[in-house]
């Protein structure tokens, strides 16, 4: 494939001033937001006090992994990672399924009390988590599920926010699509999972991200309902690192990094999916 020697030279236009200004503003804001994250990450790889001593540009010779080793060995971290992954998977899948089913019921079939039901779901969003943690604890203890993964996820198999998100997404779909699928002979479940959900990919992705992050970041409830280190999530394990009397800041930062990395991976990966879905949805 020989390149034609036509002088089709790309005209390089000078960037418009508006674009340049926008870039600068965005980069400045990103830098401000990212600075604490950067300092935390850097501190995890350095001995204590290094950043105060030498500023925020890393002195590569001082890099060390001892903080990570200390953080990872203070609790059975690999085991807790597995527990966290199990909790995230179970909770997210359950919330997606219950959320999709509830949202479908709230949008497509007409039935008396549909509006009231949605209001009740919205009301649960206004209830503070603190007030239901203790009743949940008593209930789960009485069922006998203390110190189990199932005990950790049971109160959160359904959540108001994904229902709300998906309900809004489904309501925005033109009803012709649903009617067409029903006319084609699809039952409710088939319509939901084969037609409706794929049409709302950005919102579904957002709901998945929300559920997964909430499950990963859960601390107080897993702490309350579990009694042994091996049954706990990684957030509870890492909470054992800071100490008011004998603090080791760099190890605490290392623990934070270990716990934050999966969430960053999730968000970055999901964002690509999110943007794809958005684009696909528009170019119909």
């Amino acid at each position: 494939m020989s390149a034609p020697n036509t002088s089709i030279r790309r005209k390089t236009r000078a960037p418009r001033p508006g674009t340049v200004v926008r870039f600068i503003v965005v980069i400045a804001i990103a830098a401000i937001v990212f600075l604490p994250v950067y300092v935390s990450f850097l501190s995890a790889f350095m001995p204590n006090g290094e950043i105060v001593r030498n500023g925020i540009w890393p002195n590569v010779t001082r890099f060390t992994m001892t903080n990570f080793i200390k953080a990872a060995t203070s609790t059975p971290l690999p085991q807790q990672y597995l527990v966290s992954i199990a909790v995230v998977t179970l909770q997210t899948i359950a919330q997606m399924i219950t959320g999709a089913l509830a949202a479908y019921a709230l949008v497509f079939p007409r039935w008396r009390g549909r509006g009231m039901a949605f209001i009740l779901v919205l009301i649960t969003l206004a209830i503070p988590g603190e007030s239901i943690v203790i009743p949940n604890y008593e209930l789960v203890s009485q069922i006998g599920l203390r110190n189990t993964i199932l005990g950790v996820v049971i109160p959160y198999l359904a959540a108001g926010y994904p229902i709300f998100l998906l309900r809004q997404a489904f309501a925005a779909i033109p009803s012709e699509i649903w009617e067409a699928s029903r006319l084609d002979g699809a039952g409710d479940l088939r319509a939901l999972f084969a037609i409706i959900m794929p049409a709302c990919r950005p919102q579904v992705t957002t709901a998945i991200i929300w559920s997964a992050l909430a499950a990963w970041n859960g601390y107080f409830w897993p702490l309350l309902i579990t009694d042994t280190d091996a049954a706990r999530t990684v957030q509870v394990g890492i909470a054992q690192l800071p100490s008011s009397d004998a603090t080791n800041p760099a190890v605490v930062f290392a623990g934070v990094v270990l716990v934050v990395i999966p969430t960053m991976v999730l968000v970055i990966a999901a964002q690509r999916f999110l943007v794809n879905g958005l684009a696909r949805g528009v170019l119909r």
Binding site: P47, N48, G49, E50, I51, V52, R53, S74, P128, G129, E130, S131, V133, I134, Y137, E138, S141, Q142, Y219, F220, L223, L224, D227, T228, D229, V236, A239, Q240, L241, P242, S243, S244, D245, A246, T247, N248, P249, V251, V252
Partner: protein
């Protein structure tokens, strides 16, 4: 912090529920007989007991070592399972939840500030009763007075101190020498320290002072000025406290002197968790740092200059001024079976014994709670080799055992601490005058104490 708010709120929600329970049940230790050694002797098989604690990091590992030793010593008779249940506020919230579902631990290691709460919910047998009923185990007289008085309410010993820390004035000797302050210069009073900090700042340009933004140090400034942090009598003499004293008298004076350092630029801001104060000190960027004795081993490995731990500076009359201890203590459940209670008492006696305290304190940097530890030759050798560890012990031994140094006892301490530190951070940043901040803090504390009182149903 979001996590703390959640657990404090959960505790508050529970407390109102418990208020009804605690005033109607009569299973508190003061009316029923504490069980004696026969309860355990006659028990068949292995008595299993649970221990909950909030001790984090490597200190938690040292606690586990002691537990393992106890289990070995008592194989076939007693078995202890110990679990970390979250640091401080989370631990209390979990404990409160367990009371409702009747799954409270046999022994609970509760932080210093929880003393008021643990006493008020009446779910523990006072240590004094257990000691009386079990003369063969721990003798309360063996405990260091400054430590036992912290955990005695109305003259009755409620809990056995387990790990004790004390606040120190950490000094960067190299920086002081650079500023022309000789090693022999007196740094005993607050005025002397403040003026030395200013000298370092003006002569070398390096900050003279920092501390974690923790209300613990405000309480220390108060007690070192000879004032009760909360009135009347720090809650130690029968009447529940109704207010705090930081906005008047010598306490206000002391806080003003420190705030002055911040607003004039001599002091650099720490942070509430203490990480920044720690890093700044070990990086050599500050001359004086208020910090707990517990950082001794951390500083030893991270600070690459000549430093020393000096006693917390005083600002009041010697006979009634001094620092307050920190740490945690052992509480024995009053709802456990008698055999478990005696087993729990044996565990507490073991943890507070001279030998255990020697092992634990040397490995962690806490101060031994047992007087007899100081008589052992290995402890004497250890203290001779570590000047700072000796300074910790001396400070705790020399603190006068008065109500000022016993610290404030109320279940509202956590709320008061948060309120105080919010006000003081604003004052240190120059956003409001120190007087305004202290008055606001005192009035918020008054409200918090009233709310706590009404939650208890009094």
């Amino acid at each position: 912090m979001k996590k703390n708010v959640l657990s404090i709120a959960a505790t508050a929600v529970l407390l109102s529920g418990l208020a009804a329970c605690s005033s109607t049940t009569s299973t508190s230790g003061s009316t029923s007989e504490a069980p004696g050694p026969d309860a355990l002797k006659n028990a068949k098989g292995v008595t299993t007991i649970t221990l909950w604690h909030g001790i984090t990091g490597s200190n938690g590992d040292q606690l586990q070592k002691l537990i393992d030793q106890f289990n070995d010593n008592n194989k076939g008779k007693i078995r202890v399972t110990s679990t970390f249940q979250g640091a401080y506020a989370d631990l209390l919230a979990k404990y409160t939840a367990s009371l409702r579902s009747k799954s409270a631990p046999t022994v609970m290691i509760a932080g210093d500030v929880a003393t008021g709460y643990m006493t008020d919910v009446k779910q523990s047998i006072p240590a004094a009763d257990m000691a009386r009923a079990n003369p063969g185990d721990l003798k309360l007289d063996d405990l260091v007075p400054a430590a036992s008085s912290y955990y005695a309410v109305n003259g009755v010993q409620q809990a056995v101190p387990f790990n004790v820390s004390t606040p120190m004035l950490w000094v960067n000797r190299d920086l002081l020498r650079q500023a022309g302050i000789p090693d022999s210069a007196p740094l005993k009073t607050l005025d002397q320290v403040v003026s030395a900090a200013k000298t370092v700042y003006t002569k070398t340009g390096v900050n003279g002072f920092t501390m974690p933004d923790d209300d613990w140090y405000i309480e220390q400034l108060t007690s070192s000025s000879g004032e009760n942090f909360c009135t009347p009598d720090n809650g130690r003499k029968g009447k529940a406290p109704t207010g705090i004293a930081i906005n008047r008298g010598t306490a206000k004076e002391a806080i003003n002197k420190i705030a002055d350092l911040y607003t004039s630029g001599v002091a650099v801001d720490g942070d509430p968790q203490g990480n920044a104060a720690y890093d700044i000190f070990v990086a050599g960027k500050v001359a004086f740092d208020f910090y707990s004795s517990g950082v001794n081993s951390g500083f030893k490995s991270d600070a690459k200059f000549d430093f020393q731990a000096l006693p917390f500076p005083t600002n009041g009359p010697k006979a009634s001024s001094g620092p307050i201890i920190g740490g945690s203590s052992l509480w024995l459940s009053s709802t456990a079976k008698p055999a478990a209670q005696v087993a729990g008492w044996k565990l507490e006696s073991f943890l507070a014994s001279a030998k255990s305290q020697e092992q634990f304190s040397q490995a962690t940097g806490y101060i031994p709670v047992n007087k007899k530890t100081l008589e052992s030759s290995s402890e004497k050798k250890f203290l001779a080799a570590d000047k700072n560890a000796q300074a910790f012990v001396d400070q705790v031994t020399n603190t006068p055992a008065v109500t000022q140094t016993a610290g404030c006892v109320t279940g509202a301490m956590t709320t008061i601490r948060t309120g105080n530190i919010n006000q003081l951070q604003a004052a240190f940043a120059g956003q409001k005058s120190v007087d305004e901040a202290l008055n606001q803090a005192a009035s918020d504390a008054k409200t918090a104490l009233q709310q706590y009182k009404s939650q208890l149903g009094n």
